[in-house]
């Protein structure tokens, strides 16, 4: 057998090494240039990366940085749930909660069965006191989470607030079915019946509640108000007196309704006495509020003390004026007020002393 000779090698170019080096250099320059160009471009020119960066920034609580990228991403893809959610959450967390609404709405539109989205929107409207909206989304949320008793409880109150008394009552009765002895729910049921114009129904609920829990003053107060509204002021009076005797937290409100009731039964003198006490409580509260606003204003404190004395609130007036003189023993307006008070009270010696210290 004979062997063929091997093919000849191609003729070697004398420029070959230089071309290879040049190609390599061109490639390197191109790579470096492209890399520089790419990395120097704005994020918007590489949309997916910008979106991801923005989402990451949002998750890391850098929402101010993230927001432009998120908005750009949303402009490109309006149904991008992840971006909508990030915008909603970012605004809610920051100081721009008011701007969250459109994103929350969009989030819920895109994911109508997403409980978290719905809950966020419900809460947003509740805090913004857009009660109709809050209630509407709350109802949808309850459909998604029917076992959420707390939500049902909130919806009872919200339905009441937006005037859907029938729905409020339905929630209330559903809750009562599981907690029949709950005093707050029973009191609420009475309030709902009252709002629906059913004073008799409200009274029935309250009467039973008072029988079961005689010392439950919110029920006593509600019952007294219903007695007043149904023209039985005389029956409201003992209940209100009970509250005044036992509940320090409800002195003003019970006193107010008692004064109204006493006037309506013709006991004007007693009504005036009770009214004066209600007014005293209010005047003292107002005085304290005024002094909170201007704690260093001794003229104000002295004047308010004087007003309290003039209104017959002797102990309170003396207390305020005493506090003024403790800070400024020679404060003339306070001495003048006390001088006038003691003159009225028939104590000329003290009156003269304060008059002297007042400088006249």
């Amino acid at each position: 057998m004979s062997a063929e000779p091997p093919p000849p090698n191609p003729p070697a170019s004398r420029h070959r090494p230089w071309v290879a080096v040049l190609a390599l250099l061109v490639g390197l320059v191109a790579a470096v240039g492209a890399t520089l160009w790419y990395t120097s471009r704005p994020d918007t020119a590489r949309p997916d990366a910008a979106r991801d960066d923005a989402l990451r920034a949002a998750k890391e609580d850098r929402f101010v940085q993230a927001e432009p990228g998120l908005k750009a991403a949303l402009a490109r893809k309006p149904d991008d749930v992840e971006v909508v959610e990030a915008l909603a959450r970012g605004h809610l967390k920051g100081e721009t909660a008011n701007a969250a609404e459109p994103y929350l709405v969009r989030w819920v539109e895109l994911c109508p069965d997403d409980r978290e989205a719905r809950r966020f929107l419900h809460e947003y409207y509740r805090k913004a006191r857009k009660l109709e909206h809050a209630y509407s989304h709350g109802k949808k949320l309850l459909e998604l989470e029917p076992a959420d008793t707390r939500l049902r409880n909130n919806l009872m109150g919200q339905a009441f607030s937006v005037g859907r008394f029938d729905e409020s009552e339905a929630y209330c009765r559903e809750l009562l079915a599981t907690r029949p002895g709950d005093r707050d729910l029973r009191a609420m049921l009475a309030e709902i019946r009252r709002a629906r114009g059913d004073l008799a129904g409200a009274a029935t609920v309250l009467d039973q509640l008072i029988t079961d829990l005689p010392g439950y003053t919110p029920a006593l107060l509600s019952r007294a108000v219903i007695f007043l509204e149904s023209g039985h002021a005389e029956r409201a009076i003992p209940l209100l007196r009970d509250i005044l005797r036992t509940d320090n937290q409800r002195q003003r409100v019970a006193g107010y309704h008692l004064a109204v009731a006493l006037e309506r039964v013709g006991d004007t003198d007693e009504a005036k006495r009770v009214t004066a006490e209600v007014r005293r409580l209010q005047d003292v509260a107002n005085t304290e509020e005024a002094l909170r606003n201007q704690p260093d204003n001794l003229e104000l404190a002295a004047r308010l003390g004087d007003e309290l004395l003039t209104a017959g609130h002797t102990a309170d007036g003396l207390k305020f004026l005493g506090a003024v003189l403790a800070r400024a023993p020679d404060f003339a307006p306070a001495h003048r007020a006390l001088a006038t008070h003691y003159e009225r009270a028939g104590d000329p010696a003290r009156a003269a002393d304060h008059r002297r210290r007042a400088g006249n």
């Binding site: 492209a34 790419y38 409100v253 209600v278």
Partner: protein, 590 residues
């Protein structure tokens, strides 16, 4: 795909491309446009809801309330000014008067002092500023206004309150313009003096004389030379002091003597016997249906006055026993404004009182005999108004369904509310639709763009200024422009507009104190011509009564201020009618 890997691939592609074309670069892609946030609900009229268009510019109303701001945050700076609809030329087209405030120290003010403005209605949707022509180019720290024909000459006069005063402007013939009218300041000649901080005021026949008397709310005593600012130490911010840090001033009542003069009867009437209150709003209306006009006046952090008219010029305050003197918890209200009307179909005037932030606007249902039922929460207004600080408030029938609705102007008193509370001073106005049973639902979101603007609302007055049967709104703003909102509600509901004219003898010509009963399609609607109302403002006393789908009125009865009852016939729906006492007939008006 992971981000890093994606980047490598992109770079590799770029290298290949660069190698192929021998170039790097090229035009970068255009940046993505800044996208609009998803729109909430598109703002356009919604079937079944009222709709208001901002007609301020088109109407050529260019009033701006003077900004008297100082670094002391004085209480004056936040009060705003009133608005009054007054048909000063008696042409049947309401004109608009805007009360101006001014610098706290006028002597140091550079340039001309700002003045009130009167805009004459051109009957084509536009207005012309006629302030100087009619003599109302007056400066001062103006507050409120009331409109009333106190001399029963057929032309409405003006009372204007100031920080430190009260002016009576008498509507007189203009000798320079035959047939024209102008105003003469007759305060001194009328013997009216109220050198206090007057706020809202109201005309009403409180003495049963057939003439309008004047009730003036006085607020607190402020000494600008020795003003002590209030400071929130924690926030290091001054803020507007509450009224409780100032002495209160008793309200004032001026009896109309019938000869162009008035007598201050504050003391002898019993008005001065009430604990000085810090008054901000007043309405004159017959609360107990006994034929005598009573007074309901609210005080800022004081008990509201319910002055029962005992007759003979005597009044007694029954606020404590009425149930409308305090809020439901026995606390003082920060009463700013009052709306009065038959909201529940009882035929009695009930009351709505605007209130402070985090407090509900109060609703008091009139159950008769000076007894009121607190109804804020069940009405729906209470819960919806805790988020706002209310000032002007008025009732009207926005959609002509025969049920009274309520509009409210809102805005916080602190201009640095953002720094102190974290929310802006500007707040949205609100609109509530009534159902005739004293239940309301807020429809502000659907009522037009104005109701989404956050402004510092103060005065509010209503009038059908273009006589199209739909009641329009004018809102005043503290240190801001007056806004005119044209009611553009699309509805097939019918209406009548009634202008009552008393006989000028036993009943005042303005018929303040009249009661109107309309029966249509089996419904009976009761409306009142009351004095005062809202905050610092005066609404058109003409009444637009929505009739729903009723094609005609079955019965129209007026109980005049003097107690006479008169039936009128022939008032067909869809236009305005003038009802003159004693004639029994209606005459068409614009």
């Amino acid at each position: 795909m992971p981000n890093a890997l994606r980047r490598v691939v992109v770079i590799a592609c770029a290298v290949c491309a660069a190698a192929l074309v021998g170039a790097c670069g090229g035009p970068p892609p255009a940046p993505a446009p800044d996208p609009p946030a998803p729109a909430p609900a598109e703002l356009k009229p919604t079937a079944g809801y009222p709709w208001f268009e901002d007609a301020t510019a088109a109407a050529k109303i260019d009033f701006t309330h003077f900004d008297s701001v100082t670094d002391r945050h004085t209480i004056l700076e936040t009060m705003g000014g009133g608005l009054a609809w007054i048909d000063y030329d008696a042409d049947g087209w309401p004109d608009l008067f805007c009360v101006q405030s001014g610098p706290l120290r006028p002597a140091g003010h550079k340039g001309p002092l700002p003045t009130h403005k009167l805009y004459r209605n051109n009957r084509d949707g536009t207005f012309t500023d006629v302030t100087a022509r009619v003599g109302l180019d007056k400066s001062g720290y103006g507050m409120g206004a009331a409109v009333g024909d106190y001399d029963n000459d057929g032309f409405d006069d003006l009372a204007v309150t100031y920080f430190g005063g009260l002016s009576i402007f008498h509507n007189v013939a203009d000798p320079a313009a035959p047939g024209g009218r102008r105003f003469a300041d007759v305060t001194a000649a009328a013997k009216v003096s109220n050198p206090h901080w007057g706020t809202s005021c109201a005309w009403g026949d409180l003495h049963g004389t057939g003439r309008l008397d004047l009730y003036v709310c006085n607020y607190v005593v402020v000494d600008l030379d020795n003003y002590k600012s209030c400071e929130n130490v924690a926030k290091k911010e001054y803020y507007i002091c509450p009224p409780t840090v100032f002495p209160r001033r008793a309200h004032a009542l001026f009896r109309n003597n019938g000869d162009g003069t008035f007598t201050d009867v504050t003391a002898e009437s019993g008005v001065g016997a009430a604990v000085p209150g810090g008054g901000l709003a007043v309405t004159v209306v017959d609360l107990d249906g006994d034929g005598k006009q009573d007074v309901y006046a609210v005080n800022d952090l004081g008990q509201a006055y319910v002055f029962k008219n005992l007759g003979g010029g005597k009044f007694t305050d029954v606020g404590a026993r009425s149930g409308a003197g305090l809020d439901m918890n026995g606390r003082f209200m920060a009463g700013m404004g009052i709306a009065v009307g038959d909201f529940d179909g009882s035929g009695r005037p009930s009351l709505v009182v605007s209130n402070y932030q985090d407090e509900p606007t109060m609703v008091f249902r009139n159950t008769g005999g000076f007894a009121f039922q607190e109804w804020s929460h069940p009405s729906g207004i209470g819960p919806a108004t805790r988020k706002t600080l209310g000032f002007g408030i008025e009732q009207f029938d926005a959609d002509l369904d025969g049920h009274l609705d309520v509009a409210a102007a809102n805005g916080h008193v602190y201009r640095n509310a953002q720094a102190i509370y974290g929310f802006p001073q500007g707040q949205q106005a609100q609109l509530f639709l009534g159902d005739g049973a004293c239940r309301f639902r807020e429809v502000s979101d659907k009522a037009g763009s104005y109701f989404r603007e956050k402004l510092i609302g103060r005065g509010l007055a209503v009038a059908d200024y273009n006589n199209d049967g739909r009641v329009d709104l004018a809102f005043g703003h503290n240190s801001g422009p007056t806004k005119l909102l044209k009611n553009a509600t699309e509805t097939a509901n019918t209406w009548v507009r009634l202008e009552l004219v008393g006989n000028g003898k036993t009943s005042n010509r303005n018929a303040v104190g009249a009661r109107i009963e309309v029966e249509a399609a089996g419904r009976k609607l009761v409306r009142f011509v009351s004095g005062g109302g809202s905050y610092l403002s005066a609404s058109d006393r003409r009444l637009v009564i929505g009739l729903g789908t009723a094609p005609a009125l079955e019965r129209l009865t007026v109980v005049w201020p003097d107690g006479t009852r008169e039936a009128f016939r022939g008032a067909a729906p869809g236009r305005g009618w003038r009802l003159a006492q004693g004639t029994g007939i209606v005459t068409a008006c614009p």
